[in-house]
C-alpha cells in the first residue's frame, strides 16, 4: 500500500508540474487553410521545432478548406489568427465594416502554382497553350487569375477549363481530358520526379502575379486589442520559423514528416516553388492592382483608400 501511495503521489506531482507548465504558455488558436502546403505549414513546423514554445506560445491549429472558411472563423472570433486568408476576401470584409486586420503577408507571388503537361505532350512553352484546354481550379480563384494573365500577356487563345483541385485535375490530364493541368506542391511532385509530367509555367511567369501578395495572416480587431503581446510574439516566432525553414535540413525533415512525403520532395517544394522572399510576412505588395481588381471582381463596391488600408494593415514590427 505504501508503494501504491508513493506512485500516486509522484503521479500527482508530475501532473501538477505539467499542468502549471502548460498554463505558463499563452494559447493561440489558428485557422489554417490548405493543410500540408509549404507556406501554410510554418506554424506547424515552428511548433514542432519548439520555436513558438520559446516565445511562450502554444498553438492550437485547425485546418480549413480555404480562405473563406478561415476568414469566417476569424470574424466569428472562433480563432485568434487566420493563416492563408485570401486578400480579396479580407478587403471585402473590411469594406463592409467587419472587424478584420491584416497582421502579415502569407504568400507573395505565384511561384507555388504551376501548370504542367504530360511528358509526351507537344506542349513546351506558354505559347503552345494556344488552342489547347488549360486548367484552372474555380472561377475567381488565384489559378483563374493566373491563366487569364497568361492569355492577356502572351496573346494566346487557350480553352480555359475549370477542373477543381489538383487531384481531379491530374486525373483529367493523365486521361487526356485536359491538355494542361495546374497544381500546387507538394502535389504532383512525385509525378514530376518520375518524369510523367513536365512543368510548363508557374504563376510567376505572369507580370501581374509575380509581384502580388495573394494570401494573408489575419486576425480579429478585438484579438489584436486584447492579445497584442501574444500576436507580436506569434509574428516574431513566425519570422524565426521561416529563417529555420530556409537555413537547414531540420525544418525540412519536420515538414516532410508532417506532410508524409519523402525529404527529396519536401526539398524540391521549398527550393523550386517557394523562394524565401515569397513568405516574407512584412510586406504586402501589389496593392494598387489588387484594390482595383477587388472592385472588378465585385469583392468591394469601391476601391479601398490608402487611409483605410493603413487601418486594415497592422503588421507588428520586427523586434
Amino acid at each position: 500500500m505504501t508503494v501504491l501511495k508513493g506512485i500516486l503521489l509522484a503521479a500527482g506531482i508530475a501532473m501538477a508540474i505539467s499542468t502549471s507548465a502548460a498554463h505558463a504558455q499563452d494559447q493561440l488558436k489558428l485557422a489554417v487553410g490548405q493543410r500540408g502546403n509549404w507556406d501554410t505549414s510554418i506554424s506547424e513546423v515552428g511548433s514542432r521545432l519548439g520555436i513558438f514554445k520559446k516565445h511562450n506560445l502554444q498553438l492550437q491549429i485547425l485546418y480549413t478548406q480555404g480562405g473563406g472558411e478561415t476568414q469566417q472563423a476569424v470574424l466569428s472570433n472562433s480563432v485568434d489568427i487566420g493563416v492563408a486568408g485570401g486578400i480579396m476576401g479580407a478587403l471585402s470584409a473590411f469594406s463592409k465594416g467587419a472587424p478584420i486586420r491584416i497582421i502579415g503577408a502569407e504568400t507573395t507571388g505565384g511561384q507555388d502554382l504551376y501548370w504542367y503537361a504530360k511528358a509526351d505532350s507537344p506542349i513546351k512553352t506558354l505559347k503552345d497553350f494556344d488552342g489547347k484546354t488549360v486548367a484552372y481550379s474555380t472561377n475567381g480563384s488565384s489559378t483563374h487569375g493566373v491563366v487569364n494573365a497568361f492569355v492577356q500577356e502572351n496573346g494566346i487563345k487557350p480553352r480555359l477549363t475549370a477542373t477543381g483541385g489538383p487531384a481531379p485535375t491530374l486525373t483529367q490530364v493523365m486521361s487526356g481530358q485536359i491538355d494542361v493541368g495546374w497544381s500546387a506542391p507538394p502535389f504532383g511532385l512525385e509525378q514530376l520526379n518520375k518524369g510523367e509530367i513536365r512543368v510548363i509555367a508557374t504563376g510567376n511567369d505572369t507580370k501581374a502575379f509575380k509581384s502580388q501578395t495573394v494570401r494573408l495572416l489575419i486576425t480579429n480587431t478585438s484579438v489584436l486589442q486584447e492579445k497584442k503581446d501574444q500576436i507580436d510574439r506569434y509574428m516574431t516566432a513566425y519570422r524565426e520559423t521561416i529563417e529555420a525553414m530556409y537555413s537547414g535540413e531540420e525544418a525540412l525533415k519536420v515538414y516532410a514528416d508532417f506532410v508524409g512525403v519523402p525529404l527529396a520532395i519536401a526539398k524540391r517544394t521549398r527550393d523550386e516553388f517557394f523562394p524565401k522572399e515569397a513568405l516574407n510576412p512584412d510586406r504586402i505588395v501589389g496593392l494598387d492592382t489588387i484594390v482595383n481588381d477587388a472592385v472588378t471582381l465585385k469583392y468591394t463596391a469601391q476601391p479601398v483608400t490608402k487611409d483605410k488600408l493603413d487601418v486594415l494593415i497592422q503588421i507588428p514590427s520586427r523586434r
Binding site: 485570401g86 463592409k96 467587419a98 474555380t138 475567381g140 477542373t163 483529367q172 469583392y299
Partner: protein
C-alpha cells in the same frame, strides 16, 4: 368562449415575421454577431441585387435543368428498378439490404470520384443528384407494390384481367401513394445533393452562387440565395403534390 380563427398560412407567415423581427432586434443590440448573421432587412433588401447583378434567374434555370434531368432519371430508373425487384423475388432479397444501406449513405462524399469520371461539368452534378435520389424511390416502389391488398388483386382476377391489365388497372394505381412518398424523398435527396455538389465544386447555378457570394463575404447575398433555394424547393414540392393528386383522382 369565442375562438380566434387564423388561417394556418397567415399564422405561419406571422411566426416567420416574428422570428425575423427578433433576429433583427438581437443583431441591432449586439447580442448576435452581425458579421456572422446578417440583418434580415439586409437579406430581404439584397434580393433585387441578386436578380440584377448575379443573374439569379439564369442560375435558377441552370440548377432547374440539372434538377429536372436528375429527377427524370431518378423517377424512370427508380420506379423501373422497383417494379423489377417486385417481380423478381430473388433479385429483391439479394439487393434490398444494399439499396437500403445506400439510401442512408452520405453519397455526396463520393463527388471526387464523379469529378474524375464526368469532369467538372453538369454531368457530374446530375449524376450525383441521380445516385443520391435513386434508393428511396426504389425502396418505396417495392413497398408500394408489395402492399397492394390481395382482395384488390382477387377482384381483378375474378374479372379475368390479363397480367398487364392487372398491373395498370390495379397494382400501379394502388401503389401510387407509396411511390410518390419515395419520389418526394428521392427528389429531396436529389435537390440537396445537387446544390451541395454545385457548392462544393463551384460550378453550375444556385450552389455555385452561394459559394461565390461566401468567398466575396457577401453575407446578405448568401442568406438571400439560401432562402431563394428554400422557396424554390417549396414550389417544387407543392407542384409534386398536385401531380400526385392528378394521377390519383379518387381516394
Amino acid at each position: 368562449m369565442g375562438k380566434l380563427i387564423v388561417p394556418p398560412p397567415i399564422f405561419g407567415a406571422a411566426c416567420v415575421a416574428l422570428f425575423l423581427g427578433l433576429v433583427e432586434f438581437l443583431l441591432s443590440v449586439g447580442l448576435l454577431n452581425q458579421f456572422v448573421i446578417p440583418f434580415p432587412s439586409a437579406v430581404l433588401g439584397s434580393f433585387w441585387r441578386l436578380f440584377e447583378e448575379e443573374q439569379l434567374l439564369h442560375r435558377l434555370v441552370v440548377t432547374g435543368a440539372e434538377a429536372l434531368s436528375a429527377s427524370m432519371l431518378v423517377v424512370a430508373f427508380g420506379v423501373g428498378i422497383g417494379v423489377l425487384l417486385h417481380k423478381r423475388r430473388i433479385l429483391r432479397l439479394a439487393t434490398e439490404p444494399w439499396i437500403a444501406a445506400a439510401a442512408a449513405a452520405p453519397i455526396v462524399l463520393a463527388y471526387p470520384l464523379f469529378l474524375v469520371i464526368f469532369g467538372r461539368s453538369s454531368a457530374t452534378i446530375v449524376a450525383m443528384g441521380f445516385v443520391a435520389g435513386l434508393a428511396p424511390v426504389i425502396l418505396k416502389t417495392v413497398e408500394g407494390f408489395q402492399g397492394v391488398k390481395k382482395s384488390f388483386l382477387n377482384v381483378g382476377r375474378s374479372y379475368n384481367l390479363s397480367p398487364g391489365q392487372l398491373f395498370w388497372k390495379i397494382q400501379f394505381p394502388a401503389s401510387i401513394p407509396t411511390i410518390f412518398t419515395g419520389i418526394r424523398l428521392g427528389l429531396i435527396f436529389t435537390l440537396i445533393n445537387l446544390i451541395g455538389v454545385e457548392f462544393l465544386i463551384n460550378f453550375g447555378g444556385l450552389g455555385q452562387l452561394i459559394n461565390d457570394l461566401a468567398e466575396r463575404y457577401d453575407l446578405p447575398g448568401v442568406f438571400a440565395t439560401i432562402i431563394f433555394v428554400i422557396l424554390v424547393s417549396v414550389v417544387i414540392f407543392s407542384l409534386l403534390e398536385r401531380l400526385e393528386r392528378w394521377l390519383r383522382p379518387v381516394r
